[in-house]
């Protein structure tokens, strides 16, 4: 089973379902264990560059830290919780409850980031859209319109360059200060959007003149299927999640949505 070869729709479904499941967990042990599993699955089943992975993942440590300390400070323990205060800073008390809930939410962010990386680093965007048409009944009119729009992406950087040159030629590139910067932003944004709209209209006319109707009765050059290994992956990821919940329960650390 290779992550790159899995059906993109099933992969996406798995990730979204896991986000749902993780959202019911409020103890730090379950997400920590699951995060480890995510990392193991990503690197053992997918061909992922470690450097690239780290580059995207590391910023999330900062976000996670933000969650940890805010929750630790602004936590709202239910009545009757046994609280142990670790530190008192002025009016703020850091309790065992606040800290563990904070860690849980922070680790949840890391799990989300790990799952997302597992998806985006192993999925070809075009195949994902084609799979949505063939497996999830996305209307072809919308899907191919979307693909046409997606193709403008590299053209946009080119367009920004052209606009910058045009501004330079007219000597209109010298705004300073916040107000000037905001004005400059508008001078880029509106021409950029206008040219994107013009390009889109031209592409649509070209598609229609070549006989694209957007109907469902069409053939596909790339046929995308759902295979046994796709459901195997689905089962594996969900199974691992419940294994983490089970271990956390055995350790007596598990807390779910009802316990907070």
């Amino acid at each position: 089973m290779r992550l790159h070869k899995l059906n993109p729709s099933i992969k996406a479904l798995t990730v979204i379902l896991l986000v749902f499941l993780l959202s019911f967990v409020f103890d730090p042990v379950t997400p920590l264990l699951y995060w480890l599993f995510i990392v193991v699955v990503t690197f053992s089943l997918g061909k992922v560059e470690t450097r690239k992975w780290l580059l995207i993942f590391v910023p999330f440590l900062v976000v996670a830290l933000g969650y940890v300390w805010t929750t630790a400070v602004f936590s709202n323990p239910p009545a009757g919780t046994e609280l142990v205060t670790y530190w008192t800073i002025g009016p703020v008390e850091i309790t065992n409850y606040g800290l563990s809930t904070g860690l849980a939410l922070g680790l949840r962010v890391l799990c989300f980031a790990g799952l997302s990386l597992l998806f985006i680093l192993t999925t070809d965007p075009v195949k994902f859209i084609l799979s949505l048409v063939q497996q999830c009944k996305l209307p072809p009119k919308l899907a191919y319109g979307l693909l046409a729009g997606y193709r403008f992406l590299p053209l946009l950087t080119e367009e920004v360059k052209i606009i910058r040159h045009a501004h330079k030629v007219r000597g209109a590139n010298r705004e300073t200060g916040l107000k000037g910067k905001l004005f400059a932003l508008k001078r880029y944004a509106i021409p950029l959007l206008a040219s994107a709209i013009r390009k889109a209209e031209r592409a649509a006319i070209a598609m229609e003149s070549k006989g694209f109707t957007g109907g469902r009765s069409r053939t596909y050059y790339h046929q995308i299927h759902i295979q046994k290994q796709d459901w195997l992956f689905f089962g594996l990821m969900i199974g691992l999640f419940f294994l983490c919940v089970f271990v956390s329960m055995q350790l007596g650390t598990f807390r779910g949505y009802g316990d907070i």
């Binding site: 910023p59 602004f74 939410l105 980031a113 997302s116 009119k141 403008f152 509106i190 649509a204």
Partner: protein
């Protein structure tokens, strides 16, 4: 959906592509704020993430414009590589539904400044309920959560509603929208 012509669909995707990049840039900004201030750091700029649904609905004026454009923008963000991954598509759908609800309430007939601001606030409400669940706000104190909600509501009205209308009108004046509902309305107004 099937009353849409291909031109409108491709224009919508092109707008979604441009704003997907804007959204991605703001994710970086938001992450810095969130690291410093916790989840509340996202709130003041949250409205910017609803803007494409306001602009598209304002320009194309068809049922589904707000919902589809926001969903596509989220989808394209995932394709470019937003680290929030597939769950972002779900967030996009929910935000789009919030704006769509406001337009639906007028029967997709009125696109005044108030309706656009209400649509921005609609996205705020829907996205907040979703965030409450996914980000575990239930564990935070009610006052803190309320503060977050109010800031997001204002941000949705201003950064999505007002700014969205401004961008739409500016685009209309360039003449590229002559084939779209907004351009046609502007022409009628000029003639009158």
């Amino acid at each position: 959906m099937f009353k849409w012509n291909l031109r409108e669909i491709v224009v919508m995707s092109a707008l979604a592509v441009v704003f997907a990049i804007v959204y991605l840039l703001f994710v970086q900004v938001g992450n810095v704020f969130a690291g410093l201030m916790g989840p509340i750091g996202y709130e003041p700029i949250f409205g910017i993430w609803f803007i494409v649904s306001i602009i598209t609905a304002y320009i194309i004026r068809k049922p589904g414009a707000a919902f589809l454009s926001e969903t596509i923008a989220a989808f394209i963000e995932v394709l470019i590589g937003n680290v929030n991954g597939p769950r972002l598509i779900l967030s996009g759908m929910i935000q789009g539904l919030g704006a769509e609800a406001a337009f639906a309430a007028t029967g997709w007939k009125r696109y005044s400044v108030w309706v656009l601001m209400a649509a921005g606030m609609g996205s705020s409400v829907f996205s907040f309920v979703w965030g409450y669940f996914v980000s575990g706000y239930a564990a935070l104190s009610p006052q803190y959560v309320l503060a977050m909600f109010v800031i997001r509501l204002v941000s949705g009205a201003v950064l999505a509603g007002l700014l969205g209308k401004y961008v739409g009108d500016s685009l209309g004046r360039t003449g590229v929208l002559n084939g779209m509902a907004l351009g046609k309305e502007m022409k009628r107004k000029k003639a009158a």
